[in-house]
Amino acid sequence: MPPVIQLEHVWKTYRSADVELHAVRDVSLQIERGEFVAIMGASGSGKSTMMNILGCLDKPTQGRFLLDGCDVSTLDRDGLADIRNQKVGFVFQGFNLLTRTSALENVELPMMYSRNSLGSREMRHRAQEALALVGLANRADHHPNQLSGGQQQRVAIARALVNQPALLLADEPTGNLDSKTSIEIMEVFQTLNEQGITIVMVTHEHDIAQYNKRCIVMRDGVVRSDSPVLERLDAKAQHAALENA
């Protein structure tokens, strides 16, 4: 089975006027199935660019990127859209749910854009299942403005999971949440990871990174360190401790 992510000497260069800016320099990286990886770094370290490349929103200027064994570097705009739809689940910092649209319909959205389209009943069924997986089965009819931040992020996670992607990609998933809700969300991620889902998240918070299994630190477009997380935190235990306090 191929690794979920395989980067080979990837560069991303932005050109403005005659200044060349290397946002990512010669990064080679491999992430296997079932991993739970945090990408950390200060702003300008190239972690957002890495995120865009891993999410197939952007293509590397140089080098090869294989996502689930599929070479992304050669795809056009529509090909990238299909890869995003089938293989990547996105969770954003600002949730990015469609307003005035129910939780269920938000979760159905990726299936709407699948090339092999499902019937509306099947879509509804799968969306219900995904919502149940994040503990929101009873909130399906609620609109985003009727949900708390943590609940909105759960809807976003359900949406990311609904097409059974190879990779769950989260960009600062706890950035807009308080610390208690952050722990709740990390608990969802840990549970999903235990079920075998590969998760990569970008964060700048050290304590959030502590819930991951592996931590990659970037600076000036290169990988500074890549190591397993020692003293890993268990969100469930943390959550229970908070409840008891």
Partner: protein, 405 residues
């Protein structure tokens, strides 16, 4: 995404901004409404004029006296009698394609019956006149060639005259006075209604032409010659034949203008419809301007909508929407706006023309074709003006769109 789902999406988006959608549609509503009402009124007016032209008869050619030139004096048109009885006879005998000819004279007279009196136009015509004008005699009968030869004092009267002079009384066989000459009423004509010129065609008394010439006016000139042509496609040939014959008979040299006028029914119809055609074109131009302005309104709102929903578009693209999915979504939204406006406009137009015909008495005639074309045109306006905003939305970069505040 399926077409149905996209359509559903577009409807939802429009529903969210009901007032805005309604205002955006207004331009199209007014444009299409104007087109439909205008076509209805135009067709109605045309049908009415055509019906009036048809009262002239079938394949009728009319000859009127023109201006003549004699001894250095140019007389006004119709002022001098240039049409003679012999002209009418010659046309009947010599021009091929002519079925019937009736020489006509006119005199305005006071009619009297008992203590009633009525002033009207007395027309002297040949017996063929009733056939040429396809004018049915509903009571009694017409006069004959015998009556013409004898200059009989017999009269066929129009419906208006019958009503004014005899009221409810039986008119056939009654003796009425025309310029104090007693005439026997032998027939009553079927009503024909208003002429193209707006005069009452039924306010008339028709007697043999010889009777007018000998007993009423004493004039020998004709006011008009009515000719019936054998078929519509021979009309122009007959008009030319009559013109040539008349020029020859009136000894008009190469450099002299006609001292008579020949008008075919088609020419009269064209003259009568010319004004309404100009009016229709003018109304049509105004309506199209309104449609274009409405289209620009749609484009404007769609551009605003694309900007407002940049983030939504970013989410959709990130989740796997193709450019064409986004294009379709916004295009269908624009087309839904414009065709909905079109539908409302059609209803408005139909309502306006119904009201106009009911309360203002204007004749209107709505055609299914005009309605279908108006609807398709409004949809086309949506495609045309929606394409640019939709393309703009489809071309958005997902990274920038997601970051858009």
């Amino acid at each position: 995404m399926t077409a149905l789902a996209t359509f559903h999406l577009a409807l939802r988006a429009l529903q969210r901004n009901k007032l805005r959608s309604l205002l955006t549609m207004l331009g199209i509503v007014i444009g299409v409404g104007a087109v439909v009402a205008m076509v209805g009124i135009g067709n109605g007016a045309k049908a009415q004029v055509e019906a009036q032209i048809a009262t002239l008869g079938q394949n009728v050619i009319l000859i009127f006296p023109g201006s003549s030139f004699s001894g250095g004096v140019q007389s006004g048109s119709g002022g001098v009698g240039t049409l003679k009885l012999e002209d009418a006879k010659a046309i009947a005998d010599e021009v091929s394609g002519v079925v019937a000819v009736s020489p006509g004279t006119r005199v305005t007279s006071q009619l009297g019956f008992g203590n009633q009196n009525w002033s009207t136009s007395v027309a002297g015509e040949a017996p063929e006149y009733f056939d040429i004008r396809q004018w049915e005699i509903v009571e009694g009968s017409g006069f004959t060639e015998q009556d013409v030869r004898a200059a009989s004092k017999v009269a066929v009267i129009g419906a208006t005259v019958a009503k004014q002079l005899f009221g409810e009384e039986e008119s056939i066989g009654q003796i009425m006075r025309v310029r104090n000459v007693p005439f026997q009423v032998i027939g009553v004509l079927k009503p024909k209604g208003t002429s193209i010129m707006g005069s009452d065609q039924d306010d008339v008394v028709i007697v043999p032409y010889s009777t007018v010439m000998k007993r009423l006016s004493g004039a020998t000139n004709l006011r008009m010659i009515s000719v019936q042509c054998i078929s519509e496609d021979r009309t122009q040939a007959v008009v030319n034949g009559i013109t040539d014959l008349m020029r020859q008979r009136h000894r008009l040299g190469q450099d002299r203008e006609n001292d008579f006028m020949v008008r075919s029914q088609q020419e009269i119809a064209e003259m009568a419809t010319a004004t309404s055609k100009v009016l229709r074109l003018l109304l049509g131009a105004i309506a199209s301007v309104s449609l274009v302005v409405g289209g620009i309104g749609i484009m404007n709102i769609m551009l605003v909508s694309v900007t407002e929903r940049t983030r939504e578009i970013g989410i959709r693209i990130a989740l796997g929407a193709h450019g064409t999915d986004i294009l379709k979504q916004f295009l269908i939204e624009a087309v839904t706006l414009s065709s909905l406006g079109g539908l409302i406009g059609i209803l408005l137009g139909l309502g306006t023309s119904t009201l106009l015909s009911r309360f203002a008495g204007w004749p209107t005639l709505t055609s299914a074709n005009a309605i279908i074309i108006a609807f398709l045109f409004s949809a086309a306006v949506g495609v045309f003006f929606g394409l640019y905003p939709a393309k703009k939305a489809a071309a958005l970069d997902p990274i920038d769109a997601l970051r858009y505040e």
